[in-house]
Each structure stands twice: as structure tokens, then as C-alpha cells.
């Protein structure tokens, strides 16, 4: 029962054997396509190599976090995701027969995007492909599989295998977004270090017309699945994601049997709800990363660089933030506006972000899969207490949901010259806010820096910096901790680079240079 007919993109034989390109992306998945689109919209030409000829199939990312939606608004596909997807803000946790508590993620009004939109990854990939094509700058090569990689100091030589034979191309820069089993990572002999969780999960995408609200529901040891946990998410097209914890001893082959899966789903839904299986897979989770993401002219993004368990929705969202972080930097280097060393900041910013995602998803997985009897006793004790005591609810860990990385201590940030006690911290992704005529993030520069000027006079022109006057009172001022005459400099990826209690064009120019890695 298919709710989505995957597009098949045409294979075209290469006609540029021996050619050299400025940017080659390996992997036309969520992260690779996002990186390609970001660079293309900044004016770069990009070649994308993918070993398949379609979008991802089956149970992949579904929870697109607010920050990811903001990035996709910048890239022009945010509205499509919101329109097609399922917005949810409520989560519920159950233990045994009882509901323990519910929580609301929508803490604040005045953001264009909700906390989460659930949508099957293949829709997003399909729209990314269309948007890449629309730029006229992305050369999408389907059924082009990377077979060899030689990473050199001044570029990367690639051998590419296709149904019509092999060819070679060169790349000034190679972006490896080829997933958890990255061939590029293997070719460079890089080990991803971390841990494998000794547990197995059955992930079923089920089509059903259920009269259930769009909520994230998590059961610990429910009566319909004794001894394990179950997670339920609503997606588009009446497709529901159900995730059953099976334990390490489960037999993956037997558990994949449709009759067995149907029995599990039937036990959960009861006798009256008709359903059909759309996709079933068995997973074991890992939390690990490679030591460095940049290796000279080869840069790793997404699952090729780091992997997490799915609890917290930090895989896809983390990967999209990688692309967001890298795109403007590589563009600035290619334009000659920034030195190559700017790209080292991709490591210094995204490795701590990956570690935060790994830490959070490891803790969630350890809560969901207790490692010993003592851990289980504490886990169950937390759940028992949480039903009647508010203090225990923050201890319940069924997934710490993805939040944007704050680039604390980034070498690209200019330290505050005066105390800045309120509002978003330096290095944070710019908070959105509602203005009289739209949303703040829509006002940021398409390609360049943005200076938010709080009810002040604009400075004279500062190259590469678009100035936007915003109110010095109300929502925007509050979210930035700013008052009249203050100024906040946003990077091209909308992170806060610097801020001042005065407007000094020279200081703003220096902060822009620092964010571009021009200052040693």
C-alpha cells in the first residue's frame, strides 16, 4: 500500500571525463541536497553524485525541528513542508497501564515555525531536488557511484562508476554526505568512534485512518508490548510511525515477518482500526563520530560524519545544520572573500554540536534501554514518581528533542564588549519574532551578513552587511536583550556573531572580518 510513488530521476552518462569542478557533493540525500541547494542559491555550481536514482525509501527522518524549518524557509521549501506535514507540539509519556504526563513544546508565540513538523523524508528530498534543478546550477547525477577517492592537498580526484562505465573527475572541494556507511569515509580510512547499543528496534510505517491527535506518544512497558518501549508519531498521508523496542536477543529476520509485525500493531491499536503496513525495518543504533569532519579538501556532513540514535530527532536535523554551517563558509572561500582556514571553524563549531547530539541521544537511549537492574530500577522509579511529582518529569528521558546548537566560544564570534545579560546568547541561532508585517527571519540577507539595528539610524554602507531596522521595544528587542541604539550582527547562517550597545561601523566591519576568518 503505497501513499507515495517515488520519482525516478533519469540516468545520464557523464560527458566530462577528466573535468575539474569546484564543488562535488557525494550523496543526494537529505543533507547532501541541502548543502548543494544552499551553495547553488549563493551562486556556486555544484555536482551531486548519487548511487541511486530516487529519493530515500522507508523509515527515515520524520521530525523536522524548528531550526531546520527556518533553514528550509531560507532555502525556499519551508512552506511546502509545513503545508504537507503534521504540526505537533504535544508529547505524552505512558508507563505500564497509565499516562505519566503530557508536555507542550510550544513555549513561545511569535515564531513562524512550530517546534516540530512531521513529514516523511522522501517528500523533503523530492522538493530539494526540484529546488536544486530550479537554480540551474546543480548538476544532479543519478546512478553515479563513487568508486575511488584520492584526497590531495589542492583537491580531490574521484573515480565514478555508472551503468555506462567509469570516469574520473576532479573536485576543488568534496562534500561527503554519503550517509552512515560512507564510502568516502572508508576510502579515506577514517574510523567513526563511539558505541553501539545492544538493543534492536522494529520500525513500522503504518497506514491507518485513526482518530488520534497529532502527538508524540511514548510508552514504557505498555500492556500491549510488555518488556519494551513503543513510540508513535503521525506523519503525512495518514502514515504513522511506530517504533517497537525488541531487545538485543530478538531475531531480526523473524521480526520482519509481516504477520508478526501486524500482530504487534494489532495488539497496540485494538481490533477496530484497519491498518496496512507500508514499510518495516529492524534497526540497531549507534552513537559515534569521526574525529575531524574536515580533512583538507574533503569535508564530511550528516551521518557520514556522526550518527545518533533516533530518540530526539537529532540525526537529520543535525545534518541539515551541518549544511547550513558549511554553505556560506565554502561560498565565501570560493569567492575569495575568506581564507581556506575559515573552513576549520566548521570543525570547531559542528564537532561540539555533534557531541551534544551524541550525548543527548546516548542518554536517551540509556534511559530507554537500561544497562543493568539498577539502571532499570532508577528508570522505573523516575516514571513512577513522575505521575504524581512534577520534579521527576524532567528526569524522564524518552528523547531530548533537537535544539539548535549554540556556537559557544566560536572563534568567529566577537566577544561582547559590555555585559549582555538578557536575550539569546552570542553564537545562538537568531530567534525569530513576529513583526507588524511578517517575521524577522524573513528579513535576513539572502547571502551575506545582517545587522539588526534597534530603532537607530543606519550606518553608512558596510560591504557584505545588510542593515535592517527593528523595533527597540516588544518581542524582537526582548528576544535579543536589546534596547534603543543597540545592534546585532547575524552571520549568513543567521547565528549571532556580535552585538554592541552602540553603532560603530569600524567595529562592525571588524566583526564581519572575524566571522569570515580574515583576522588571525
Amino acid at each position: 500500500m503505497a501513499t507515495f510513488v517515488p520519482p525516478h530521476y533519469p540516468f545520464r552518462p557523464a560527458t566530462d571525463d577528466g573535468a575539474r569542478h569546484s564543488v562535488v557533493v557525494v550523496g543526494g540525500g537529505l543533507v547532501g541536497l541541502t548543502a548543494a541547494l544552499d551553495l547553488a542559491q549563493r551562486g556556486q555550481h555544484v555536482v551531486v553524485l548519487d548511487d541511486d536514482d530516487t529519493v530515500s525509501t522507508g523509515s527515515r527522518a520524520i521530525c523536522f525541528a524548528k531550526r531546520t524549518l527556518e533553514i528550509y524557509d531560507r532555502l525556499g521549501i519551508g512552506a511546502a513542508i509545513r503545508d504537507k506535514g503534521t504540526t505537533w507540539n504535544t508529547g505524552r509519556v505512558y508507563f505500564g497501564e497509565r499516562e505519566v504526563y503530557g508536555f507542550d513544546l510550544l513555549a513561545e508565540r511569535g515564531h513562524r515555525n512550530p517546534a516540530f513538523v512531521n513529514l516523511q523524508q522522501y517528500y523533503v528530498e523530492h522538493w530539494l531536488v526540484e529546488a536544486c534543478r530550479a537554480t540551474g546550477r546543480v548538476d544532479l547525477r543519478w546512478k553515479h557511484r563513487v568508486a575511488g577517492v584520492a584526497n590531495r592537498t589542492d583537491g580531490v580526484a574521484l573515480t565514478v562508476a555508472t551503468p555506462a562505465g567509469s570516469y574520473t573527475i576532479g573536485a576543488d572541494w568534496l562534500l561527503a554526505a554519503d550517509g552512515a556507511r560512507s564510502l568516502v569515509r572508508e576510502a579515506l580510512g577514517l574510523d567513526a568512534v563511539g558505541k553501539v547499543f545492544h538493543d534492536r528496534f522494529l520500525i513500522a510505517d503504518v497506514v491507518m485512518h485513526a482518530d488520534l491527535p497529532a502527538e508524540r506518544r511514548f510508552w514504557f512497558e505498555p500492556p500491549f508490548h510488555r518488556g519494551g518501549s513503543v513510540l508513535l508519531h503521525r506523519q503525512a498521508d495518514d502514515v504513522w510511525r511506530i517504533d517497537f523496542q525488541l531487545g538485543w536477543d530478538a531475531d531480526p529476520e523473524a521480526e520482519r515477518e509481516p504477520s508478526r509485525v501486524e500482530a504487534r500493531v494489532r495488539a497496540m491499536l485494538g481490533p477496530d482500526i484497519p491498518f496496512a503496513l507500508e514499510w518495516v525495518s529492524i534497526y540497531t543504533f549507534r552513537c559515534r563520530r569521526i574525529e575531524k569532519f574536515r580533512h583538507g579538501r574533503t569535508i564530511f556532513l550528516g551521518d557520514a560524519a556522526h550518527q545518533v540514535s533516533p530518540f530526539g530527532a537529532r540525526g537529520g536535523n543535525g545534518g541539515v545544520q551541518d549544511a547550513d554551517n558549511l554553505g556560506w563558509k565554502l561560498d565565501a572561500v570560493l569567492r575569495g572573500e575568506a581564507p581556506e582556514t575559515l573552513l576549520d571553524s566548521y570543525d570547531s563549531e559542528r564537532i561540539p554540536a555533534a557531541d551534544e547530539n551524541i550525548l543527548n541521544s546516548t542518554r536517551s537511549t540509556d534511559f530507554i534501554t537500561p544497562k543493568n537492574e539498577a539502571a532499570r530500577a532508577y528508570r522505573d522509579a523516575v516514571l513512577e514518581l513522575a505521575a504524581s511529582h512534577h520534579f521527576a518529569r524532567p528526569l524522564v528521558n524518552s528523547g531530548r528533542l533537537s535544539r539548535p546548537a549554540v556556537l559557544t566560544g566560536s572563534p568567529l564570534s566577537t566577544p561582547d564588549e559590555t555585559p549582555w545579560p538578557a536575550g539569546a546568547p552570542l553564537g545562538a541561532a537568531a530567534p525569530d519574532a513576529e513583526l507588524d508585517d511578517g517575521y524577522l527571519l524573513d528579513r535576513t540577507a539572502a547571502n551575506g551578513f545582517t545587522l539588526l539595528v534597534f530603532d537607530g539610524d543606519l550606518c553608512g554602507a558596510i560591504p557584505g552587511v545588510q542593515q535592517v531596522v527593528v523595533p527597540a521595544a516588544g518581542m524582537v528587542a526582548e528576544r535579543y536583550g536589546a534596547g534603543r541604539g543597540d545592534a546585532v550582527l547575524l552571520r549568513p547562517d543567521q547565528h549571532i556573531a556580535a552585538r554592541w550597545r552602540r553603532l560603530d561601523p569600524a567595529a562592525i566591519g571588524r566583526a564581519r572580518d572575524r566571522a569570515l576568518g580574515r583576522l588571525a
Partner: protein, 96 residues
């Protein structure tokens, strides 16, 4: 408060001990373990400081008297255990 206070502080130590032991009456080993976990969580929240909690965890680990050999199984063997076969894990463990 960010340091662990290990001075004698309980106004009625005998009642405190009796209450803890009494609370486990009729509980299976598994129920006892979960009860202790709930109790620890309630008290940890009352303390309200992860620093103090971690200091208490360190102190509790440091003061374990470990059997010199693997713990015997069954009641018959239990009578053989006692101070003679135990050693103090840390000579400078806090006495609390």
C-alpha cells in the same frame, strides 16, 4: 549549599534507621530496589544540587566494605562472612 555535609545531623538516628528498614517490610528484592531508587530521587531533588549529589555518590562508593572473596551464595555460606573476611575499600573514607 554545594558541599556534602557529613556531620551527624539527624535528630533521632534510631528512628531514622528504623524507618528506612521498616519501609522495606514485605517488599521483594526488586520492589526494594525500586523503592530505594524513588527514595534517593526524592531526597536528591530535595537537596537540589547535582554537585552535592555527586559528592554523596563518591562518598558512598568510597565507603563500601567489599568482601575479600566473591560473595557466598545461600544462607549456609552467609555465616562465614564477617569482619574477618572483609576489608575497608578506602582507609580514609569519610565516617558518616
Amino acid at each position: 549549599m554545594t558541599t556534602l555535609d557529613t556531620r551527624p545531623r539527624l535528630d533521632d538516628p534510631d528512628l531514622a534507621f528504623e524507618s528506612l528498614v521498616e519501609a522495606h517490610r514485605d517488599l521483594t528484592a526488586e520492589q526494594s530496589r525500586r523503592f530505594d531508587a524513588r527514595l534517593v530521587l526524592l531526597l536528591a531533588n530535595h537537596i537540589g544540587s547535582v554537585t552535592v549529589l555527586r559528592a554523596a555518590i563518591t562518598a558512598a562508593r568510597a565507603t563500601a566494605w567489599e568482601p575479600a572473596e566473591a560473595p557466598p551464595a545461600g544462607e549456609a555460606a552467609a555465616s562465614q562472612t564477617g569482619p574477618a573476611t572483609m576489608r575497608l575499600a578506602s582507609a580514609r573514607a569519610p565516617r558518616s
